[in-house]
Amino acid sequence: MTDEQLARLVQDGDHAPLAELMERYTPKLMRYGHRFLSSDDDIADVVQDVFVAAYQNIRDFDSTRRFSPWIYRIAHNAFVDTLRRQAKGPVYGLDFDRVVPHLIYEDPAEDEKEKEEMRVLLEKHLDELSPLYREIVDLYYFEDFKYEDIADILRVPIGTVGIRLSRARQQLKRAFEQIEL
C-alpha cells in the first residue's frame, strides 16, 4: 500500500495504518531531525509530536498529492519551533533569497552516480555548510525530494530552492578545496 492509501484510511478513522506510516517515517524523520538537534531524545520527542500533529491534521492532507512533503512540512515546523525555543530567538535571519525573484532553476540532470558522489562528500562535510543551506541539501540529496517538494516543505519559491542548492554546492566545493590544500 502507498503512503497516500494509508493516509486515506487514517482519514476515514482507521488507526491501524498510522502505525505503518510511523514505521515508514520514524527513521526518516529521526535522520532529518539530526539537521536541527543533536540529542536523540529531543529528536524523538519532536518526531512524536509530528505524528500526533499529522494525525490531528490528516484530513487537511489532499490524498491525490504525495504524503511525504506534507509530513515533512509538519516536521520542518516542529523542528524549527523547537530550535527557536532552545535558541530563544529566530533560527534563520532575514531571508534575502525569498525577497527577490530568481530564475526558475529546474532540477538539474544530475544522474544517480553524481548524486551518490555528492552524498559521500556531504556525509563528511555537511556541517561545514551554513545552516540555511544544510536543510535544503539534506532534503535534496538524502531525503530525495524534488525541487517542487522542497519548495512546499520550506514554503519558498522554487527558484529559491535552486539558488540555495547551487550556492550550497559552491560553498561545499570551496570547503573541500581548502581541505585539499
Binding site: M22, P27, D40, Q48, F51, R59
Partner: protein, 239 residues
Amino acid sequence: MNDENIQQKIQQKVFERLTRGNVTMRSRAYFVGRAALAILVMLVVLALSAYVLSFIMFSIHESGEQFLLGFGERGLTAFLKLFPWGTLIVDIALIFFLEWLLQSFKFGYRFSLVAVFWAVVLASMIIAALIGLTPIHNDFLEMADRGDLPVVGEMYESVRGSHEEQGVFRGTIVAIQGDTITITHEDGDHDTDDGTRTVTLPSGYSTTTFSVGERVYVFGTQGSTTIQAYGVDHLSPDQ
C-alpha cells in the same frame, strides 16, 4: 537505544496520547472553515487597503493638492509636505499584512516576496481605481460635513483643511483688477482673519482666464491681506 527501540517507543507514546482521548482528529469542516476564514480576512484586508489607497487619491484631488505638482520646485516641496504620509504608511502596513497572510497559500509562497508585494499593490490599485469611480468618498465627505460619519469622519473633514502655513489657499474670486484677483479667505475657522485676500498672479498668468464667482486654488507667500502667488489653478465645483 537502538533505532528499533526508538521507533517502538515513539509509536507507543503516540498511541497512548491518541487513546487517552486528548488528541482528536480535526474534521474536514474545520479545515474548510479555516481556509474560508483566511480567504475572507484576506479579502477584507485587500478591500481595506484599496479603500485607504482610494482615499489618498481622493484627498489629493479633493484638496486640490495635485495642482502643486505643476507649481515648480516650491510646489513639489509643499506637495511632499502635505502628502498624507500617515495614511500611506497604514496602507503599506495593510499590504504587508496581506502578504504575510498569503504566505500560507501555495500561490503566495511560490513567488518571491517582491513579486507578491507588487501583485498585491497592483490589485489594491485596481480596486482603488474602481472605488474612485463610485460616489462613496463624496458621500462620506458630505456625511462628515454634517457630523454624521463616525470613526473616519475626522479623516474626511481634514481633506478640506486649511494649509496656509504651507502657502496654500482656497477661495472664491470676488473681484478682478489689473493683474490681481481678490478671493475670499476660506480657512473654515470663522474668525477675525476671515475676509478677502488680494492675489498677485505670477508672470505668465492672465486674469482673463479667471472669472468672478469661480473657486481657485492658490499657492504663494502670504502678506497681511495679500498673497504673492507662485501658482493659481481652477477648482472644480466639487472640490
